[in-house]
């Protein structure tokens, strides 16, 4: 037998979903982080530029055409005040000589520039942001180290990276944990189904009580298993019943024939025994035919022939056929039909047999003087049909059992009948989706059938 083997964790659907979710989350986190980093950088760069240009403006304000000394003083004062190499200044005269400042001439470009410290003759690895302006041949350069920005960059990047690492680990372990728990439940379903396919039809999938989709699916599978088990049990029951209810009369037939053979040998009259044998074989045939019919009805194939049927006319026919029969048996049959048609979707022939079986049961299992009623009416958008009598009825404990195949009440064991009449009624009712109820008619039996009306 082919067994459903469990796929590895990496191939399991829940894990793949978790992995996919984690990946998406990480990508989203990365994009958000990049956007945030970029705007922080832009903001810091803008602030740096503004402070450089502010400083430049302040220094330039100290310069006037006749007097460069003040400017030289200001540059030197600033250069001295500049902490370490974080701020750099350079003032050169029209002849290119250094007039003041704390850096060498180096490669100074006019306007805004970003240069490594080395190019400016400064120690350290930091790069510098510089602004160089010219006035009357004097060139003033103001620069600031970008070390602070790159430090912030590094901090942002490392904190982002560690956050991302935490997210990845959490997403993957969480996903794996989720996947494992889901996979364990799927595994339970698979092993249950394995047991079922090996014949343990009573196995059911345990539900987690969370009411999620897996539970809903499992509940559906369990329902299907209930039906499978019931029909399997039904089939098993039938074979047991056939063995009993067909083999017993077959055995009787055999005995009758043996006796006839014996009488024949003694040249005695055998026709009575042969009549008995015929009746016995007819009974076997009736039982067998009824079993086949029920099986065919239960297979549902006849549903394809369903058409709108007026239950009123079916029941009127049955009532008409059996009124005289009941009369002859010393009972009375009354028919009550609703005004107007009561249309249901169904098979007219099977419905006729259903009601005929019910009426015949009432006629055969009730004493003289019993009043039997058959009727149909529309009630709350249902077609309600009934066959009721005021005979001895069926004890409440037995009412479910009489619907079973070949089940017969002890009292009726001696009267003729296959014990299949009511199970055929049940099969036809089930085929039509009709609810079948057996109730106490105080006194007597009341069989009610509720059909849904056909909407045309």
């Amino acid at each position: 037998m082919r067994r459903g083997r469990a796929p590895g964790l990496l191939r399991s659907t829940p894990f793949r979903l978790a992995l996919m979710a984690a990946t998406l989350f990480i990508i989203a986190f990365g994009v958000a982080g990049a956007v945030a980093l970029h705007s922080i950088r832009a903001d810091l760069a803008e602030k740096l530029d503004r402070s450089i240009s502010d400083t430049y403006e302040v220094m330039l304000a100290t310069y006037s055409r006749e007097d460069v000394e003040d400017l030289i003083g200001a540059v030197n004062a600033h250069a001295l005040a500049g902490r370490g190499n974080s701020q750099v200044f350079l003032l050169t005269g029209p002849d290119g000589h250094v007039l003041a400042g704390n850096m060498s001439v180096g490669l100074i470009r006019p306007g805004w520039a970003t240069q490594p410290g080395l190019e400016l003759g400064l120690p350290g690895e930091a790069s510098y942001r510089t602004f160089t302006g010219e006035s009357d041949g004097y060139r003033l350069t103001v620069g600031k180290s970008e070390a602070e920005i790159s430090e912030i960059n590094v901090i942002a990047l490392t904190s982002f990276a560690s956050a991302a690492a935490i997210v990845v680990v959490l997403a993957l372990t969480g996903g794996a944990a989720l996947a494992l728990s889901v996979q364990r439940r799927i595994q339970t379903i698979a092993s249950t189904m394995d047991k079922v396919s090996e014949g343990a039809l009573s196995e059911r999938i345990p539900l987690s009580r969370s009411g999620d989709d897996i539970d809903a699916l499992s509940a559906q599978v369990n329902e299907a298993l209930d039906r499978l088990e019931a029909s399997f049990e039904g089939m098993r029951q039938v074979s047991v019943d056939i063995a009993h209810d067909l083999k017993t009369p077959l055995n009787r037939l055999r005995l009758v024939l043996d006796e006839a053979t014996e009488l024949q040998r003694q040249n005695k009259e055998v026709s009575k025994l042969l009549d008995e044998a015929r009746a016995e074989s007819d009974q076997i045939n009736t039982t067998f035919d009824a079993l086949l019919r029920i099986a065919q009805i239960e297979s549902g194939a006849r549903k394809s022939r369903f058409a709108p049927v007026d239950l009123g006319s079916v029941i009127a026919d049955i009532g008409e056929v059996y009124t005289d029969v009941a009369d002859d048996e010393g009972q009375s049959l009354v028919t009550r039909i609703a005004m107007g048609p009561v249309e249901v979707l169904g098979d007219r022939e099977l419905l006729a047999q259903l009601f005929s079986n019910l009426v015949e049961n009432a006629i055969r299992h009730t004493p003289d003087g019993t009043a039997i009623e058959i009727g149909v009416d529309e009630w709350a958008s249902e077609a309600v049909a009934w066959v009721a009598d005021n005979g001895p009825g069926i004890p409440s404990g037995e009412r479910d059992k009489v619907l079973r195949r070949l089940y017969r009440l002890e009292e009726s064991r001696t009267s003729p009948g296959s014990g299949l009449g009511l199970s055929l009624v049940k099969a036809v009712a089930d085929l039509h989706g009709a609810a079948l109820e057996l109730d106490d008619n105080t006194p007597g039996l009341r069989v009610t059938l509720r059909f849904s009306l056909s909407r045309t």
Partner: protein, 225 residues
């Protein structure tokens, strides 16, 4: 009558053939559907009796092929499961009647007789007459020796079927199918009850009996012979 029986169970076939010849018919027996197709389309028969399950060519396909060849001989279909889809399938394939196995020989014979003597074209008589009993199918009236008899609708259709088959035996099952449209066996005396009611109306008040019970077989309506 000349009957072709297509049945692969030898014992059953021999038994039926013997019974038919005792009843004055000629009965040819074939066990294979394919042979039967050739035979049925080349020889004139009055009735075909076809089993559902046959080797090579099954009964349904055989019937369809025979009908497709334009042969209109009446056919009786033998099936193992009665009343359900097998019957409908058989009738749809071109059978004129069906019989469920196991059957009583008298039942088969009654049905063969009813089929074989079926007039080629159903004449549309509106008044049926047997001796002094008259049924007017249009006015829905029954009279015997000039006396008007009132019948229930079901009794009327029962009488109509009996009179249309005047002189032939109609079995209980045939009546159930034709009068009540019951394709199952009722456990109560539906037929007996209605026959007895009918008899009390059309026979009992009169000197001559027309409706006869044929023991172990069925009923027949005919004028005294």
């Amino acid at each position: 009558m000349r009957i072709l029986l297509i049945e692969d169970d030898r014992k059953l076939a021999a038994y039926v053939a013997k019974g038919c010849s005792e009843a004055g018919h000629v009965c040819d027996v074939l066990a294979s559907g394919r042979q039967a197709l050739v035979q049925a389309t080349h020889e004139p028969y009055d009735v075909l009796v076809v089993d559902r399950m046959l080797p090579e060519l099954d009964g349904l396909s055989l019937l369809k092929a025979v009908r497709a060849a334009g042969v209109k001989v009446p056919a009786l279909f033998l099936t193992a499961i009665g009343g359900v889809d097998d019957r409908v399938e058989g009738l749809e394939a071109g059978a004129d009647d069906y019989l469920v196995k196991p059957f009583a020989f008298s039942e088969l014979l009654a049905r063969i007789n009813a089929l074989g003597r079926r007039p080629p074209v159903q004449e549309q008589r509106t008044v049926l007459k047997t001796a002094d009993l008259e049924v007017d199918l249009i006015k829905r009236t029954v009279t015997r020796a000039g006396t008007r008899i009132d019948l229930q609708p079901r009794e009327f259709s029962l009488l109509e079927v009996l009179m249309r088959n005047e002189g032939r035996v109609l079995t209980r099952t045939m009546l159930l199918e034709r009068v009540w449209d019951f394709h199952f066996d009722p456990k109560t005396s539906v037929v007996e009850t209605h026959i007895s009611r009918l008899r009390s109306k059309i026979d009992r008040p009169f000197a001559v009996q027309l409706l006869h019970t044929i023991r172990n077989t069925g009923y027949s309506l005919h004028a005294p012979r």
